[in-house]
């Protein structure tokens, strides 16, 4: 009986796995590069510093939402309330600032707080009431959306102090502040997921709830934490969004749920939990923003963007299934389906 093979001796399966993983994440960025190249040829305005920074700016709030969704999905749950919570945090924050003599800190605190409460309720109902998180967060989507309109009485409110506006409109050199904030969020979440015991727990809980429970992981705490983080990030996105637009209204960010989920799906995070990461999501977000931006530059009617983004979700999942070998092209033709 010899010991096990040395660590450096990789097995075929393992190498295949590593290569696959590399290409799965890499392919997103390759697709992005191809998209940018095509658009650069299609429009002279596309590949300019201003336009690229614009795409990144458009990506920042949706990206922050998508990062939260990624975390929740890896843990084996889902959060579809992010865009509504974003709108609620925006209106709450704006209202508090305006009714409290421009107290920016108080407004931000209130916005984040209400978003964290929404996230906690999502977590609580999922864990303790044992309602599937899809239903819980669907309910929260309705509640937060309605509350966002109610907070301002259906009006758009705005004109914030300069110190608030900086969060959305400020720049460091040529780079918009929201892009920097989003970048920091991605860096922190990536490190959290890949380097900390908490990150391992998130993958374990999403990968096998049973194994995690028997291994003594605190599953409830992990799930609660991902919902709270997702809520807090939605709040942050809401604040940045209202600062950027210098106004808040319940309808702001209405299409962000579609974009955020699309970004996560394109980014390769498993819808069944236990696999994925924010780097892929980052690529997905920029792809979605690029599509929106490109369609505008190409003078395509704005309504087409939702159609295209929806289609991209389907194609991305389809390609992913084929990539994993779970689906062959012939399976798509009902008559040829294998028994």
């Amino acid at each position: 009986m010899t010991g096990i093979a040395h660590r450096s001796a990789r097995t075929n399966a393992e190498t295949r796995e590593a290569v696959k993983r590399f290409f799965r994440t890499g392919s997103i960025f390759i697709a992005l590069a191809l998209l940018w190249t095509a658009l650069a040829f299609a429009s002279p305005y596309f590949f300019t510093q201003q336009n690229i920074l614009n795409i990144l700016l458009q990506s920042s709030t949706v990206g922050i939402l998508a990062a939260g969704v990624t975390l929740v999905l890896i843990a084996g749950e889902i959060d579809i309330s992010v865009a509504s919570v974003q709108a609620l945090a925006a209106t709450v924050s704006a209202t508090v600032i305006i009714t409290h003599d421009g107290s920016v800190a108080l407004g931000i605190a209130a916005g984040i707080l209400v978003a964290v409460v929404a996230g906690s309720l999502n977590g609580y109902a999922t864990i303790y009431a044992r309602i599937p998180s899809f239903i819980v967060t669907l309910a929260m989507l309705g509640i937060a959306q309605g509350a966002a309109f109610l907070v301002t009485g259906g009006q758009a409110i705005g004109e914030f102090p300069h110190s608030y506006g900086v969060l959305g409109q400020g720049k460091v050199g040529p780079v918009p502040v929201p892009v920097i904030i989003a970048g920091a969020v991605y860096l922190v979440l990536h490190l959290l997921l890949s380097q900390t015991p908490f990150g391992l727990n998130v993958y374990a809980v999403g990968g096998s709830r049973n194994a995690s429970r028997l291994a003594g992981l605190r599953i409830e705490r992990t799930i609660m934490t991902v919902f709270v983080i997702s809520g807090a990030l939605s709040g942050l996105a809401g604040i940045i969004l209202s600062a950027r637009l210098d106004a808040a209204h319940g309808s702001f960010g209405a299409s962000d749920l579609l974009d955020a989920v699309a970004a996560v799906v394109i980014g390769g995070t498993s819808l069944f939990g236990g696999a994925g990461g924010v780097i892929g999501t980052l690529g997905g977000v920029v792809i979605i923003s690029t599509i929106r931006n490109g369609l505008v530059l190409l003078n395509v009617e704005a309504f087409w963007t939702q159609v295209v983004v929806g289609g991209v979700i389907l194609v991305a999942v389809l390609l992913d299934q084929m990539f994993k070998g779970e689906l062959a092209p012939r399976d798509l033709v009902p008559g040829l389906r294998r028994a």
Partner: protein, 256 residues
Amino acid sequence: MSLAVGSGPQPQPVVEARGVTKAYGHVQALGGVDFAVYPGETVALVGDNGAGKSTLIKILCGALQPDSGRLYVGGEEAHFASPRDARLRGISVVYQDLALVENFDVAHNVFLGRAPVRFGRVDRRRMAQETTTVLTELTVELPSVRTPVRFLSGGQRQAVAIARAVHQGGRLLIMDEPTAALGVQEGTKVLQLIEGLKSRDLAIVVVSHNLEHVFAVADRIVVLRGGKVAGSRAKAGSTHSDIVHMIVGADVGGAA
């Protein structure tokens, strides 16, 4: 390896259950079970389907709570609200379904829920090193500790689950049907593995349907029938048919 019976003071049991009962609705799964495991021994827990083996094991490892009765660990009374509590008191379990995370590699499964941290970061190098060490000690051959367990065979997975329980350390190792899902060859390998564990300072409880395997590894055999202990026999001096009779509840006459 068998206990000195009769002479000298009885050693303190590693883990003991006294008068444990458990009902599922109207079904009395355990009707007052006394069960003790002594240092260094390997006890096989056998019985027919529904005899209460799984229920007893789940109570010992904290996955279920008894309706009445008491548990003692090293002579002290213990209450397990969860598997975590039992683990903290030195009881490690290899579950029948192994409780592995398919996407995780061998090292991550061995350290599931116990990842070492260095400067706030998961210390993956240490995980790989210690996993390699424990696998080598157990003379388990695996392609690599970085292989996701979904690529491993049934026997290899069993070995990973055992390695995890051994690495956790503790005083009692419970194995629920460690060979049931395996082919002949892999089953034999796992039996060798269990045999190898005996040299460690560990008490072992093995639940099994397979008397062949039970006789291969156990020092003592405890038979459950209808939620009660039907008997306990040292392996030495017992025959297959003695045990079978105890399992099915037939009179142990010579006329078989």
